[in-house]
Amino acid sequence: MIRNKKETPELNSTSTADISFLLICFFLMTSSMDQSMGINRVLPPIPPEDQKIPENQIKPHNVLQVLVDGQDRLSVNQKTIDIRDLKATTKEFILNPNNDPSKSSKKEEDIPGAGKVMISEAVISLQNVRSTSYEKYLQVQNELTAAYNELRNEESLSRFSRKFDDLTETQRNVITTIYRQRISESPPKDTRKKK
């Protein structure tokens, strides 16, 4: 019974804070807070060598030719344009609201969850040369992505009355099938080949 009277000895915890502070300092110094952000792309796989290249699979009027030359000048279908107009031009080409025969045609497709939808067959062909600057190239990529993002947002607002980012997984799949990003890049002519 005498034991119960004894007080439990107190552990001096004043230094825990100091130790933890040292640890915090270590983590602060060694770590980087910067979020990696960027534009996602999927490269096309290299076709097997025995595969024949199908010719004329894509009709020329469905292709929007975007070219960035060595002086960083931008041209769309052989016409020089400003980068600020690229997004609008691309959107117009994909949507083709007046069914202009020189722009992309549409094909009816049955999409699960959305029924029959007219899908644009537009393909954007992005070309650059070796002396194009990376900054300009990424700006062009950015504008093309912006065009697709806006189209998707408009479609999901009219279809599901919500923004694309707030959609469920299945709804998002429907929208991405309707506006699939079809950006085709061919490497500059003189890209080095495998030795």
Binding site: S36, G38, S133
Partner: protein, 154 residues
Amino acid sequence: MAKFTGKKAKKLAKFNTASMGDIVFILLFFFMVTTTMRESEVKVKTDVPKASEVAKLERKDLTVYINIGPPIASEQARYGTDTRIQLNDAFKTVDDISHFIAAFREGLDEKDRPYMTTALKIDKDTKMGIVSDVKEELRRCQALKIMYNAIKAE
């Protein structure tokens, strides 16, 4: 003197610092969870371009980084100012990329391998020639998911 003794006898209220350790520990955990270790010493200047349509990198552990740009000032005496490719800690050439990617892929879980992403940190003044070479090499390595690093512009 006697007048003041009464006051002096009063003890200063003790500040209980026992919980301070806990609070600092919580802070510590916050930093440990939200941060990642700096991957490697950067030896090239990678001043990435600005872009408005950026997306966040989803799985940092499945990401392999390739830095392309001119060597930083302290390395220029040895390596010049020409655009270089940096893999891990050293300057490498386009030919080394396949080994680098293969080694990284080996270290991943089997089920995670298709989701491997290559983050390209490329200086904005780089010419597209070297970028195209790297992209072609990545296609050959079947590392098809890529991300062009960029800063979010408003």
